[in-house]
Amino acid sequence: MARTKTDQPKLNFDGLWDYDPAPESSDAISIKDQYDLFIGGEFVAPSKEGRYFDTINPSTEERIASVAEATTQDVDIAVKSARKAYDKYWSKLTGKDRAKYIFRIARLIQERAREFAIIESMDGGKPIRESRDVDIPLVAAHFFYNAGWADKLQYAFPGRQPKPLGVAGQIIPWNFPLLMLAWKIAPALAGGNTVVLKPAETTPLTALKFAELIQDADLPPGVVNIVTGAGATGSALVNHPDVNKVAFTGSTNVGRIIQKSLAGTDKKYTLELGGKAANIIFEDAAIDQAVEGIVNGIFFNQGHVCCAGSRLLVQEGVADEVYRKLTDRIETLVVGDPLDKNTDIGAINSKAQLDRISTFIEKGIAEGGEVHQSSCSVPDKGYWCKPTLFKNVSQSHSIVQNEIFGPVLAIQTFRTPAEAVEKANNTPYGLSGGVWTDKGSKIFKITSKLRAGVIWANTFNKFDPTSPFGGYKESGVGREGGLHGLLPYIKL
């Protein structure tokens, strides 16, 4: 067979050897029909009888379980229980003994990793490949890492007398439910604090399964309390007078409200908020690997990632090549059942989030952006968004300025390194960024000019419990992870 030439070369990905479904079985997991609040080591009914809300599976729109809605009164009981546990047990334990409990939690998570991964995917819509390979292993890693510090705080902060703060009130988002719980609870416990944590209303289940694990780990009652509910519950927790420290991860808007309500109090706080990260591709980058980095940066977890690389800045000389490769690459992304092991992009977390994303896509088109979506089909039921690229957009487009929190990438080009840096920094956010070049010196030169808390070079979305994470400007205050993440839970 001689070499033949095609005039318009095009890659075809469908129609031959399509992968059969390979669903992870959810038979072995147990989810109760109804969950109460976890306070003082017990599941207790909310004070107003019958105040329960449903949590649904976003890939089927079916109800999974009902969850109690904590009132101000319930939050008060939870904080009191945390205070009692702090005074009576947790502050009396040595660091070594606290470490034993935290190590036990870490090991139990590893033992039940599969169950946690499946429930995380059912409740939140993220692909099982990610909950299995990223979320849950990192959860265990955060508990292991912080357990190691519990009896070494004097070494962590040399020459000081580290003391706990007391009761921490913690509010976490729906994009990495159990991982955000670990980011919050692990350093709090290691530092000697007790906690009241509120998971997001759309993804409460793994936190409640974690409460069962806390019972099995035989933690003293009240050291960890989980109260479920929506904004009102969170507000009650933040405003409770006996909370010493507030930790919040979520939207910048809610972060502003929390910061306002904390003004004038002596509560310590950390806020992890939104982001609009620039992923900068220079023409001397390893292009094929950079394309993978772009895909990982924006399509990881359906783009529900505060540090997502949602703005692509690509040098003009390679812009066409990168765009062509990107459009071919997104054809191979499998969109569908989160429990299928081959799924790359799962379900959008909620109807409200899907509406928000769709509104931004429409806005992007109305403002003259050139839209391109993968040709994949999506299931009839459930909340889905195809991987979406926008070309011909500029700094003044709303999809470039706003955090969309979905699988939507805004692509811009640049000519010089200075222009790339200027565009990257020209945002109210400053959480993360990426730089792709084969030249080491350029990495140092550019990254030192980017105003963002986390910057990856020749990779993206890499997390490790030893590494601090947090933002500049409207992306928040304080750091989580590493020693920097332990500090906000310590009085020196």
Binding site: P9, N12, W17, Y19, Q289, E292, T332, K341
Partner: protein
Amino acid sequence: MEVLNKIPDFRDTVPIDTVGVLERVSRLNKRSIKKESKMDALKMALSMCDLTTLEGMDTPGKVRQLCYKAQHPHESIPDIPSVAAVCVYPNLVRTAKESLKGSNINVAAVATYFPSGNGTLESRIEEVKYAVNEGADEIDMVISRGAFLRGEYNFTFDEVAATKEACGDVHLKVILETGELETLENVRKASDISMYAGADFIKTSTGKVSPAATQPVTLVMLEAIRDFYYKTGIKIGMKPAGGIRDSKTAIQYLVLVKETLGIDWLNPDLFRFGASSLANDLLMQIVKQQTGVYQSADYFSKD
């Protein structure tokens, strides 16, 4: 051969990030291939095998046995595809050709002083002409790694171009011997040179050097093929050879091909496995898929 006007400057290096390549391979290896798609993959892989015997002790008898196996991989399974080609030394091409008469299985000959390539260009070209004359349908040449590693990229280009000229219409596979090129950037460069110089296929290894085919190397070569296709509209084939022994690995290679180049490459015209023991493992897995139980290796003919 069509004239390629825009031949790149091969002194320029295409950057390849090894960490990124390994991550991509590891992600592709997580694809879960089950049920019908597994059966399809096993049969597809079998149809892409180049059954190979490249020993000093090869005899016409051994080659005839291999050719029979190539046409009748396993009598008890109906609808089983035959393999793509039988790969032998030039002096056994005629024997193989006669044994395969009437089938559509090709005979490939390794030539150009396989496996080292250390001969004069004239004598290597003579060997190619001899193999073509004996009836070879495909020529598997080796590049001179010494010249390549000295930076004599023009030499590499010219030797491939000269071999292609000697091949005429016969299919040319260019073996890069990636285990001796060592870096992925070298693999990419050698792939580019070979394709621009006229290769129909690029192939990882002779099987005589370790490591032979690996998935990271294969991915880099597939990406080179993709870039060449984008630029020229010409589809070049890929052949990983050596070290691929089981069905699971073979399916992982097919996933690499499908998600890098697409379905147009999922056929023996554009993708081959150079392997000797892979075929029987594929057959065992096909029987397992059909019956639900594994059979002993004794129920599968060795060659």
